[in-house]
């Protein structure tokens, strides 16, 4: 029997997940509700089948996620009986940090990066799984699968531990941690193929539907609630759109699409000329911006 490319990736990821369960005292799986998190959750279930996943899940809620994402999160958590923690940076909420008037940079820093750090400190997790892939962005391409973070959760790209074969250095001191990326070697198309083959449930936002949008900074932004103030020169249009990645709704651009099934998405993807992170406003703040955010503790 020959293992296919996807079979190999699947086993590699399961191996990584089991390694963390064996070597760390208090791991957590970051659950962002997106397609990569959904795949990661699916792989974790396989890793420990027929038993329950032996660690907690955590969602860092910025309070600006699409409503459908939150509903989906709660459904999945109930359906699979997950031990799910939801963390919100209450200080950010009190200071009214938001993606619209605070700007994407401050919002992301306070409600995602700082919030994540708060939660990791609060629960004293020594390992945190993330669904990032190396093909997403150039600085991710250089990150280790087991990526060391110091006591302040910082990443030092120039001082990464060499990672050979599938031998992972899991040794850390108290207060330090690792971020673990079991999907490192998957590409976007691999993820979609796997979702199709395994019939993994996804947030409906990935599929095209008529949704209310406005155009702002050359992007289509969905009007998910009345916190998004419509400016005078803007008008709400009903467009058939979907999302290639999911984040805070005012920062996530919709794409026009007719794809309503996973098959149609894959076909659309094959014909697409644009990469998935293009729909993310936060990456383009400045050259090397993802690398900077990651050094500060972002996933």
């Amino acid at each position: 029997m020959k293992l296919s490319h996807i079979d190999k990736l699947e086993s590699e990821s399961i191996h990584i997940i089991r390694e963390v369960a064996s070597e760390f005292v208090n791991p957590v799986m970051l659950y962002s509700i997106g397609k990569d998190s959904s795949v990661m959750l699916h792989l974790a279930q396989k890793a420990f089948y027929p038993n329950k996943i032996p660690f907690k899940f955590m969602h860092i809620d910025t309070t600006w996620k699409f409503k459908e994402m939150i509903n989906f999160r709660d459904e999945i958590s109930k359906k699979y009986n997950l031990d799910l923690l939801v963390h919100i940076n209450q200080e950010g909420v009190r200071n009214n940090i938001n993606p619209i008037s605070s700007g994407s940079k401050i919002h992301t820093d306070v409600m995602k990066t700082q919030s994540l750090i708060q939660a990791l400190d609060k629960y004293k997790f020594d390992a945190a799984f993330g669904g990032a892939r190396r093909d997403e962005e150039k600085s991710r391409a250089k990150e280790r699968i087991f990526s060391f973070r110091d006591k302040k959760h910082r990443w030092d790209p120039k001082n990464q531990k060499p990672e050979l074969w599938n031998l992972f250095n899991t040794k850390i001191d108290q207060g330090e941690s690792v971020r673990v990326f079991p999907l490192s070697n998957w590409t976007e198309i691999d993820i979609w193929q796997y979702i199709y083959q395994e019939n993994i449930p996804l947030v409906p936002l990935y599929f095209s539907k008529i949704r209310p949008i406005i155009r702002r900074n050359d992007m289509m932004i969905m009007v998910d609630d009345d916190r998004l103030k419509i400016k005078e020169n803007e008008k709400i249009e009903q467009k058939k759109v979907r999302f290639r990645t999911l984040g805070c709704y005012p920062l996530t651009a919709a794409v026009e699409s007719d794809a309503t099934t996973v098959e149609e998405i894959i076909i659309e993807l094959l014909e697409s000329k644009y990469s998935e992170r293009q729909g993310r406003l936060i990456d383009n703040d400045q050259i090397g911006s993802m690398e900077k955010k990651k050094q500060e503790g972002y996933f």
């Binding site: 191996h15 094959l270 644009y274 050259i287």
Partner: protein
Amino acid sequence: MDIETFFQNQNNKKQLKILTCGSVDDGKSTLIGRLLFDSKNIYSDQLSQTKIESEKYGTQGKQIDLALLIDGLQAEREQGITIDVAYRYFETEKCKFIIADTPGHEEYTRNMVTGASNSDVGIILVDATKGILDQTKRHTFILSLLGIENIIVAVNKMDLINYDEKKFKDIIASFKNFAREFNFNLQKFIPISALVGDNVFQKNKNISWYNGKSLIDELEEISLKEPLEEEIFSLPVQFVNRLSSDFRGYSGTITSGKIKVNDEVQVFSSKEKIKIIKILTPKGESDFAVKGQAVTLTLDKEVDISRGDLLCSVKNHNYFLSDQFASHIIWMNKEQMIPERNYIFKFINFQTIGKITDLVHKININSFEKIASKFLNLNEIGYTKVALNKNTIFNPYKNNKKLGSFVIIDQFNNQTVGAGVIEYELRRASNISWHQMSINKNLRSSINGQKPCVLWFTGLSGSGKSTIANIIEQKLHKLGKHTYLLDGDNVRHGLNKDLGFTDVDRVENIRRISEVSRLMVDAGLITIVSFISPFKSERKMARELVDSDEFIEIYVNTSIEECEKRDPKGLYKKARSGKLKNFTGIDSNYEIPSSPEIILETKIKSAEELADEVILYLKQYNKI
């Protein structure tokens, strides 16, 4: 396109992991950029981002600099070099590629080794204008050491030498000449220009004299060795799944061969034979599983199996259970490798303390000369003998990469400092170095799984030293650690019964105790010393008798008022009434330690809590 056909095509594509090695100016990043560009694996927004960056940092004038697609870190873009290993993904009609992009300079040898450890094929770039250089030899040697069987030598920048056939052939001849001793399974030579794209994807009329395939065609045709029918089964147990009471399974990734339900296998360390009842693969329950699959097995009986064990075929295997082996080691840290120093050795499912007992020779990786040396520096490769504290299961690297490789981790800063490939087992009887070695402190203490040290308690009489020290010894004992407690009062009944309490006698008292504790540390013990030891200089003397990281000064901070209030032995009362002379704190001085390793505040915490603080310290500093 029909989606099912698409998936069928996707599933038929083979996965190939390739490593590109070349030095800064060989055009390596340009080649990878070209592969991504010509295979249409670059999106237009990534391309336009690269165009912006080309204007800022590019080296190709107005043209887009394909290398900038690759160099991901800010420093790399600014300096125009590749620092770290980057992984790239692209696919063609037949193949899915994962490229490890590694720098080629000698100071980045460790990065190249890292990339090579997970690759099936190595592409060695040679600059046609320069020919075979030392670095070409180095790259070839590393690929061979890491067991890569397929190599492609891509002679780049053919456009700069006018596609000169003779120069290309000269390069091939000199490559073959030095690479004779390496046994590559497949060795191909292709003249290319990554900059213009000649012979990368398309064959080019500029090189009409070349009859071979383009680089991509050559890669697509490489067939990786499939496991032989008779290959034996092995599965290092990674995780014991007994997360609920009604299920017990053994999880891990199969590293060789295959397994069927009802097969008889053995637990390698105990030789106990068991039968496979169920095989849970990622695709669900199955009758069989093969190399590379992450599975969970259930067995016909309950046996003692834990992480670190190996399940394998009953017959015909060549695995070893030993604590010594010979291996090649590449050193990856600025702090040099020192023989006889303890490090952590991490294998696929097991880690233990061990040391490099002998550096037989190091290898000049440019000329392959063997050189005598006492140390290995960063990026140096040496042939060594390794002795571990515990038996480990392994197989020579050439037989099984997963069971024949290890990384070396520094015990104190947790850095990955080296990596090794196992050549063969050293049996104790045949290992001369073992017999030559005298038994020393490290060996004695390694049996106990502890690092010997002195816990030197100092503080006023009645401060609580002996109480806390006693609790600590009990706790260490429970942890299976070997200890000895030297207590002031007890020692004065025997060894030091000739000494009084004058300053001179106090110094001699401490001198003797220091010497005794040094002997005990040498014996491998965790030595707990509980004396008032009032003078800084004597505490310093005691400290200097042992290694600097072996002396842990613990100041038990209790005020004189508090001690006098407690006065458990009625000594303060006697001293106050003049019945006891030279009593510390009353009429003899106590010098407070200026920088003890630990300060215990007895006013805030109980003796039990303070003892836990010390235990925590010992754990943090890897003493226990």
